[in-house]
């Protein structure tokens, strides 16, 4: 196979790659609820994604964890059914409902068969509109949440993440886990749960997408019935968060053979004109895959870690660019030195023309590969709506990436990467590293 190189060269010059070929319909229900729909009739089920803007950051003061506990208790009894009755009814329909909440978003993900769609939606509606929040259910789920909180206290990655958030965000809700603390969760009452429900379920903050065996008219009627009675928002969204961390190193002693380091500094908003360039930069620097600079330098060349990565966190009220690495205590110092050097290098020199072109080829080729199932497409579309992106973004997004010039990207590299702002939080006993400014 000695001719492989020539063939490779030709292949990626000439191939065109996949195009994201979904046909999005913008639906407005008779009652005024807007949704994006992709009709996909080949499999007799529908994936429905419902999101409310506003998540655990809307917890009331001193009630940290209330919204999380409320969402976890939502299907533990609703309408005429107790917790077990609700689960039995859902299982008999072979439907799946998932209720989750993040810092800025409250989510309901449903999957249901065409053959019993009306019954599945009637059942889901009881969870949304008539949850019982019985004391016994609250207490049972509280025990599960407390178990998770206890486990997180011994998880080095969680310990580091919590410490980082706390130092970065001061008294903003982002500074603490949305799960709450053992103390705050212990003291939550049923009234707190009822209050938490009102904070996040708001019709004027809802975003919907559906993909599957359903038409626009059917979807409109379904949404009016399912969500039409949800109240309007009463709780203001979280205020702007201020980044408060200075450069330095924070070591949190923890008995483990391998330290975990989280690192980063302030980031960039999703609607910033430089966001796309930053996204590309991060892909080259520490994004997924083996090809990133950090994976090459820290893992492939030196064997210092199994995994190192960086990621952008453009949240509603504050932004970070962050990364994580795990190395044996004896070698964490070297990993950090390499990461610091790379951080400085990308800020000073930026990308090469070849790195830019390779990243463009990757990002434009990989985009279509995300659209590979009803549920993934539904999640992409609801995310686009929340980010205020137009429907035709699916078609124009790759053009935006192709349009980035080396000058653009390297100007943004100087703006984004701030080696003198970098803070490392290290959990473990890293050799020769101490807390410092």
């Amino acid at each position: 196979m000695k001719r492989l190189f020539i063939v490779l060269g030709l292949m990626f010059m000439t191939a065109t790659g996949a195009q994201a070929a979904v046909e999005v319909q913008q639906v407005t229900s008779p009652g005024g609820i807007r949704a994006w729909l992709v009709e996909e009739r080949s499999i007799p089920f529908t994936a429905l994604e419902i999101r409310f803007r506003g998540g655990t950051a809307l917890d009331a003061p001193d009630k940290r964890g209330a919204i999380n506990l409320m969402m976890a208790t939502l299907e533990e009894g609703a309408g005429d059914l107790d917790a077990q009755g609700f689960a039995q009814a859902r299982e008999a329909l072979a439907a799946s409902f998932r209720f989750n909440v993040y810092d800025d978003t409250t989510t309901i993900s449903a999957r249901f068969l065409t053959e019993n769609r009306d019954q599945a939606m009637a059942l889901l509606k009881t969870a949304i509109m008539q949850p019982h929040f019985d004391q016994v259910a609250i207490d049972r789920v509280r025990g599960q949440v407390q178990s998770i909180i206890r486990s997180d206290t011994q998880n080095p990655s969680r310990i580091g993440g919590s410490a980082f958030d706390e130092m970065v965000w001061g008294d903003h809700p982002y500074a603490s886990s949305g799960n709450g603390t053992l103390e705050s969760v212990t003291s939550l009452t049923r009234d707190d749960i009822l209050d938490a429900y009102k904070r996040v379920f708001a019709l004027d903050r809802v975003y919907v997408s559906a993909v599957g065996d359903i038409g626009a008219d059917e979807l409109g009627l379904l949404l009016d019935d399912l969500l039409g009675d949800v109240a309007m928002a009463t709780t203001p969204l979280a205020p702007r968060a201020t980044y408060q961390l200075e450069k330095g190193v924070t070591v949190i002693p923890f008995e483990t053979p391998q330290s975990v380091a989280l690192f980063g500094h302030a980031g960039i908003t999703r609607d910033d004109p430089d966001f796309m360039a930053t996204y590309l930069l991060n892909e080259v620097f520490g994004g997924g895959g083996f090809e990133s600079r950090l994976m090459q330098e820290v893992r492939e060349k030196r064997g210092l870690t199994y995994g190192v990565s960086t990621f952008l966190m453009p949240m509603e009220s504050g932004e970070l660019i962050m990364g994580q690495v795990r190395s044996d205590n004896a070698r964490m110092g070297e990993s950090i030195d390499v990461i610091r050097a790379e951080w400085a290098k990308i800020a000073q020199i930026g990308l090469s023309e070849k790195e830019l072109e390779d990243a463009k080829t990757y990002l434009t080729g990989a985009y279509a590969l995300r659209f590979d199932g009803n549920a993934p497409i539904a999640r992409i579309m609801v995310g686009m709506q929340m980010a205020d992106l137009p429907v035709d973004y699916i078609r124009t997004r790759n053009d935006q990436i192709r349009a980035l010039t080396l000058a653009d990207v390297n100007r943004v590299a100087v703006r984004i990467y701030q080696p003198d702002q970098l803070h490392f939080v290290i959990v473990g006993h890293p050799d020769g590293i101490e807390t410092s400014n």
């Binding site: 039995q88 072979a94 068969l113 997180d152 199994y306 080829t361 199932g373």
Partner: protein
């Protein structure tokens, strides 16, 4: 509450049913099996090569070599430089990776369907023409040691599972961790890797699976072009591992680790796996696991221990019959703070004894069968997951006919079959009971 408790995730393989989607199979002249799963909804294809070799096929004293070799397959060939395969996949907008189990080693790329030719070109190249420098081997050994530290040494739940597996198997290499024991991993070298590679990496020991926007005819032509010319290995060893003797004594273990914030009890029983043409016992166990622990609110253990008695904040039963040799049936109970591990274990045993007396609730059984039927519909939405199931089954001694027969076999299992299975499986002589807890409570029973 749908969120699982993190420490328990790996105890619970969530197996879906393979669907009735269109599947085409054929075999190349050199013995390489080919499976094509068509899904034309997106211009995406998953290209996988599965080798019928895994950690349980390693020579004694070389634990971790199958997985280490998997890493080294990315270090170049006579035609590809170190890392060039992954770099080429990335430049083409795709992603690639690999994974190793006890029974298989698999490599895959996920790309636009018009890049399949290129993927096959490169994957065929590294089946026979691997090259790797001493330097790359030394560096990569550090990487797999860091991987062990990340996946196992940093996670007391993983350490617990590793110890439990070692106690479960008296003779079979399933008792040895896939990633390897650290002291043996440290000694693995380039010669070990090459010896393993040359023995097992051959077209007649491999299965090609292509899933997505592709026709069987296209796959046949491309596979013939790229994999067809590869020479088979004539003296491929028969897969025969040391088997388990009768287990005559129950085993009990306890692991105390400061990092275990949430104590729990786990029990695993040696269990029969799915055998080709003989999957009935496995089907009974699959249904038993679902009846006992398939859902927190409605399963037997969830109902009795979480709802009626408050002895658990989480409870589960698990069984995955896809395995070349004897596998395990697992139970786990996580008690609330005011219930000791001994109380939790007793409550678990009592609940199972009651279940065998009471029998299967017919309504619950009907709901489970409805969900199994629906899972075949939902499975069609994720062709990649379907491809994984085919790969795992076909490298674990099953055939496409066995995979096709499985859903109907599950539907045919009766309530009496489930109780029979429970009477047979719950024999403490076959079991390892483990307590995981922090040191402060190691002396007492909490």
């Amino acid at each position: 509450m749908t969120r699982l408790i993190a420490i328990l995730l790996a105890l619970l393989p969530l197996t879906q049913q393979a669907s009735a989607a269109e599947v085409t199979t054929f075999t190349l002249n050199n013995g390489m099996d080919v499976v094509v799963l068509e899904d034309h909804r997106a211009q995406v294809v998953v290209h996988m090569v599965w080798y019928r070799v895994g950690a349980a096929d390693e020579p004694p004293g070389k634990s971790g070599i199958a997985h280490f070799l998997e890493h080294l397959l990315f270090k170049g060939t006579d035609d590809l430089g170190p890392g060039e395969l992954s770099a080429t996949v990335t430049r083409n907008g795709g992603s690639d990776n690999a994974f190793t189990s006890w029974d298989y080693t698999a490599y895959f790329q996920r790309v636009a369907s018009d890049r399949l030719d290129l993927m096959m070109l490169m994957e065929a190249d590294r089946m026979r023409d691997l090259e790797m420098s001493i330097n790359d081997v030394t560096t990569e050994r550090k990487v797999v040691l860091e991987e062990r530290a990340t996946r196992v040494d940093s996670d007391p739940g993983s350490l617990f599972r590793e110890q439990r597996g070692a106690a479960q198997y008296l003779n079979h290499p399933y008792g040895i961790p896939i990633i390897g024991w650290r002291h043996e991993m440290e000694q693995l070298n380039r010669d070990d890797a090459f010896a393993f590679y040359q023995k097992y990496y051959a077209p007649n020991n491999a299965i090609l699976i292509v899933a997505g926007d592709v026709s069987p005819q296209q796959v046949r032509e491309l596979a013939q072009k790229h994999y067809g010319p590869l020479a088979p290995t004539p003296d491929l060893p028969v897969r025969s591992r040391p088997q388990e003797p009768p287990h005559l004594s129950q085993r009990r273990m306890s692991l105390s680790d400061q990092r275990i914030a949430q104590p729990y009890v786990s029990r695993s029983y040696l269990a029969p796996e799915r055998d080709s043409g003989d999957q009935f016992k496995a089907a009974r166990l699959k249904m038993l696991a679902t009846v006992l622990g398939g859902s927190n609110a409605t399963s037997v253990l969830g109902r009795k221990l979480q709802f009626e008695s408050n002895k658990a904040i989480y409870v589960a039963a698990s069984y995955d019959g896809v395995s070349l040799d004897d596998t395990t049936f697992g139970l786990v109970i996580v008690p609330p703070p005011d219930v000791s591990l001994q109380e939790a274990e007793t409550a678990l045993d009592t609940a199972i004894a009651e279940f065998i007396q009471e029998g299967v609730d017919p309504d619950q059984f009907a709901r489970i069968k409805m969900q199994l039927r629906a899972s075949q519909i939902y499975a069609e939405d994720n062709i990649e997951s379907l491809a994984q199931q085919y790969g795992a089954a076909l490298t674990s001694g099953l055939t496409v006919q066995d995979i096709d027969a499985w859903p109907d076999l599950l539907q045919s299992i009766t309530a009496e079959d489930v109780i029979d299975a429970a009477r047979e499986i719950f024999d403490l002589n076959n079991a390892v009971t483990g307590w995981a807890m922090p040191p402060a409570t190691a002396e007492g029973d909490k």
